[in-house]
């Protein structure tokens, strides 16, 4: 039986002045089969935003770790890259423990969120297809379109202060049992852990090419995915090149 992995302490991925991009630890459930989820917090000048805060079973750890950096009442927003349960599952807990957080989500998915049990009182911000800006403290974060990768209404979040791109499911990797690492060191071996996910979950080559053109215009030093490990330094470029060289994916293979 797989022994569930737990990392209860957060790790500051990037920091500048009173601005920080923080990884919030991880919990593994047996059924995840190695696709561990990452949750992140960006803080700037005493305000915060949660990125893909996850489902119920990770929430206690997320809440505790956020509280190490910021008063939960100062979390002004939660950003959902898309609508999957490992992204939005803890919605009712967010409303209770982060009561001042507005929920940023694609306009395609807003109508489905009440099915998580929120019949009233949700502060939803519909992100239009072209993306939007989200102000947290003094920072102006950018919701970058990543449609169809893998969800039809899908966004990444770019943090220009520390030049981190939160890439959602792009960069997802499946770790073998008993192995996990936060930062990619050996790109070639890590690519083998990413390939099956990207071939099956991404829909087609064209969506990926549009996204690659868009992100190559950004000044990126770190790519932080929702699953898998974080790319820094030269591995950022290697990852983008690897995506560009994937060839046929998803429906292209039918």
């Amino acid at each position: 039986m797989r022994v569930p992995l737990k990392v209860m302490k957060p790790y500051v991925v990037a920091e500048e002045g009173n601005h920080a991009f923080i990884w919030l630890g991880l919990d593994e459930a047996e059924a995840e089969k190695g696709i561990l989820t990452n949750q992140y917090l960006i803080v700037d000048g005493g305000e915060g935003i949660l990125l893909d805060p996850g489902g119920y079973f990770v929430f206690e750890r997320v809440y505790r770790n956020v509280s190490e950096f910021i008063d939960p009442g100062k979390v002004k927003a939660a950003f959902f890259t898309h609508q999957d349960p490992d992204v939005v599952g803890s919605l009712l807990l967010l409303t209770d423990f982060f009561p001042n957080a507005a929920i940023y989500v694609s306009s395609l998915w807003v109508r489905f969120l009440p099915h998580l049990g929120a019949l009233a009182g949700l502060k939803l911000v519909e992100v239009p297809d072209e993306g939007t800006s989200i102000r947290v403290g003094e920072a102006e974060l950018k919701a970058i379109p990543a449609h169809f990768l893998h969800s039809p209404g899908n966004f990444n979040l770019y943090d220009p202060v520390v030049k981190v791109l939160f890439s959602g499911d792009l960069g997802a990797a499946v770790f073998p049992e008993g192995t996990w690492y936060l930062f990619v060191e050996d790109f070639e071996s890590h690519a083998k852990l990413m390939e099956p996910f990207h071939r099956r979950y991404l829909p087609c080559r064209k969506a990926l090419e549009v996204w690659l053109r868009r992100v190559k215009e950004l000044d990126i030093e770190v790519i932080a995915p929702q699953h898998g490990a974080i790319f820094t330094g030269e591995n950022v470029g290697r990852f983008l090149e690897w995506l560009g060289g994937l060839g046929s994916i998803g429906a292209d293979l039918l």
Partner: protein, 256 residues
């Protein structure tokens, strides 16, 4: 190669129970700060100073107990960390941590944080000395204590619906009346268990109603906790965001 040592004392309620937690290898591995990897039973720690200087090594963790003290040996490929935890009294843990290896000026600056984090989490996660498990006159468990736990509230909300949310100005002493008016007959008829929470700049309150009666209260005012103390509700005031959740559970004992 260099060497760095730190000594520290941490006041802890139930030091012996916290020390017991520090003997648990799974607990220690999952709680280590600076953890950035796990492979073949080893833990990878990346220490950092000022976001610029790093030192990373892969360590095997060995925990031993000698004369009541708990020793953590982290044997790395290039370095070693040894921490000895003691409980000289029922409310104090002392620790001595030593690092030997390269970049001692980077790792040495992280040692205190590493040790403090382990002690803090051990104290927080140690099982309580006695299980209160008392019942109220109404026959309910000690629900107020449960309301203080994020894990318990999480389980409750997993089986609940957010039915009402509003922002109101609550005058001092006015919270109880406000909540009585807030939970309408309609809500009470539909849900046997109702959870109400509120947050203002001054704090948080959590209330649990079962069959229309108040069954648990938790209030946190500026970090001071009031568990089961209904008088604290009268101290809550200000602009408050209030949520009402109707639960689909029939019996709160389902939430163990």
């Amino acid at each position: 190669m260099g060497k760095k040592s730190v000594k520290l004392k941490a006041p802890v309620e139930g030091a012996a129970r916290a020390l017991q937690m520090l003997r648990d290898e799974d607990f220690v591995k999952s709680t280590l700060p600076y953890l950035v990897g796990v492979s073949k039973g080893k833990v990878v720690l990346r220490f950092r100073r000022m976001m610029v200087f790093h030192f990373q090594d892969s360590y095997e963790l060995l925990i031993t107990t000698v004369d009541g003290n708990v020793n953590h040996m982290l044997n790395g490929e290039r370095s070693k960390i040894r921490v000895t935890f003691s409980a000289p009294s029922k409310d104090l843990i002392t620790a001595v941590a030593t690092y030997e290896g390269p970049r001692a000026w980077v790792v040495g600056a992280c040692l205190s944080n590493l040790v403090r984090a382990l002690i803090k989490e051990a104290a927080a996660r140690a099982p309580p000395e006695t299980v209160t498990g008392g019942t109220t006159a109404a026959g309910h468990e000690d629900l107020s204590r449960n309301l203080a736990l994020v894990s318990w509230v999480s389980k409750l909300l997993m089986k609940s619906l957010l039915v009402k949310s509003e922002i109101v100005a609550i005058p001092k002493g006015g919270l109880v009346n406000y909540v009585e008016n807030l939970i309408t007959e309609e809500v009470l008829q539909k849900y046997r268990v109702v959870y109400v929470s509120g947050t203002s700049d001054k704090g948080t309150f959590r209330l649990l109603f079962i069959d229309g009666s108040l069954a648990g209260t938790y209030v946190n005012l500026g970090g001071e906790e009031f568990v089961g103390d209904e008088r604290a509700l009268n101290r809550f005031d200000g602009f408050t965001k209030v949520r009402v959740y109707g639960s689909m559970i029939k019996d709160v004992s389902e939430l163990r």
